[in-house]
């Protein structure tokens, strides 16, 4: 065995030297030790070879097919053709359906509010008329405590204000006209609302239908990843 005047360097230092670390290579005393030492020389030699073999380790094939998401299934799908073409149309169709639903809902809401506003506006007219016609009690009492006047007002706003007051007032007592006014009012209210809200309702239903169909189409045409 070669006699060494200097102690062996730390093994980690030798590993750095074998790995080509610039500071270890620049250490001339380390280099001269490695070239003369029977222990450290072969160790560095082995480590260098090991490092070279590690750097040559080949790539490894995946054990199962890898899902190359997100782009692969879109890219592998046919770029043209009826299915992909149809699928591309589903997004705007879904958006259009949602838009129709929104417009329909807003329209119905606005119609309802307009109806209520109209009712409020016409609320005073029959009252005044009633007061001027005959019985001072009927108008104020009915107007003050009975919600059943609201439908009758709706009827009034729907186009026959002249008939409201005589019919409600002419029945005598406050109790008597209420059922009549209520019944008539409900009927008139429903008739009036269906005529003004019908287009909005149609839009709403059409929107729901369009959205539902396009969503179903989109899912049914989606390629399956993996």
């Amino acid at each position: 065995m070669t006699m060494q005047h200097t102690p062996h360097p730390d093994d980690e230092r030798l590993a750095a030297y074998a790995g080509g670390d610039s500071d270890a290579l620049a250490d001339s005393s380390l280099a001269s030790h490695v070239t003369t030492c029977d222990r450290c020389g072969p160790l560095v030699d082995e480590l260098s070879f090991l490092r070279g073999a590690l750097a040559d380790l080949p790539d490894l094939a995946p054990s199962r097919p890898l899902r190359l998401i997100p782009p692969v299934w879109d890219a592998s799908a046919p770029a043209s053709g009826p299915r992909s073409w149809l699928r591309r149309l589903t997004a705007p169709a879904m958006a259009a359906g949602a838009g129709l639903v929104l417009v329909g809902a807003v329209g119905i809401g606005a119609t309802g509010i307009a109806g209520l506003a109209g009712k409020s506006a016409s609320f005073g007219a029959p009252q005044d008329a009633a007061a001027s016609v005959s019985d001072r009690e009927v108008g104020p009492v009915a107007g003050a405590d009975s919600p059943s006047l609201a439908p009758s007002d709706m009827r009034g706003s729907a186009g026959s204000p002249g008939s409201v007051a005589p019919q409600a007032m002419g029945s005598g007592t406050p109790a008597t006209p209420r059922p009549t006014a209520e019944d008539n009012g409900r009927t008139d209210y429903e008739t009036g609302s269906s005529s003004s809200e019908q287009p909005w309702l149609t839009l709403l239903i059409a929107g729901i239908g369009l959205f539902g169909i396009s969503t179903a189409l989109r899912f049914s045409l989606s390629p399956r990843a993996g």
Partner: protein, 209 residues
């Protein structure tokens, strides 16, 4: 007995002949071009993930995570070796999985220290199928799996995949000095693990000369 080992292509994946053009198309949003790149390099990514994680399923997950990150980032790719760029992303994705696994003790990775008994038994190896360098590679991969996790990660990233110390420190979120020490200790430990197969080294060196 040799641990379960993925199939080995003959060598490392070389760059595509028209790689720069394919990268440019992928960066411009061409998904087909991106897929072409990923399909070409998937063995490289999977190999790195497998060597870091030691588990085929986790390696596949890490590679797939890396593809998603690469897809998001390819518009910002600024030249250099595409393989190295993709491997850095794969290393980060693998390390994320490693960290999650370490936080959840129920899904621990194979314990390197406990696996010592799994060092390849040469008598069990098929001398024809595992001849030459491929036999050396199989033993090396087996030995890598027996390194402590931190040393294995550092050695794999630095010595197998050619990252410099700074890149390894970034990927593992460790200090530069810590990384150097892990690599040096890992190399020494690997040498010990390969000691009984030293004749492979000698054979290889004879072949090299």
């Amino acid at each position: 007995m040799l641990p379960r080992d993925p199939a080995r292509p003959a060598s490392r994946t070389a760059p595509l002949p028209d790689e720069e053009a394919v990268i440019a198309r992928a960066a411009a949003g061409d998904r087909t071009a991106f897929t072409q790149l990923i399909e070409h390099y998937q063995s490289a990514c999977y190999g790195l993930a497998w060597r870091l994680l030691g588990d085929p399923d986790q390696a596949a997950d890490a590679a797939q995570d890396a593809f998603v990150h690469a897809y998001d980032a390819i518009a910002k790719y600024r030249g250099g070796l595409f393989r190295s760029w993709l491997l850095r992303i794969t290393a980060n994705a693998s390390y994320d999985i490693l960290r999650r696994a370490q936080r959840k003790p129920t899904t621990t990775l194979p314990d390197a220290e406990e696996g010592e008994a799994e060092l390849p038994d040469r008598s069990a190896a098929d001398p024809e199928a595992e001849a030459g360098r491929s036999e050396l590679y199989r033993y090396l991969d087996a030995a890598l799996r027996l390194l402590p996790q931190d040393q294995r990660t550092a050695v794999v990233l630095c010595d197998v995949y050619g990252m410099d110390y700074g890149e390894v420190a970034d990927a593992t979120e460790s200090a530069l000095g810590t990384v150097k020490s892990r690599i040096h200790r890992g190399r020494l430990r690997l040498r010990e693990l390969m000691a009984e197969h030293r004749e492979l080294f000698r054979n290889e060196r004879r072949l090299d000369r």
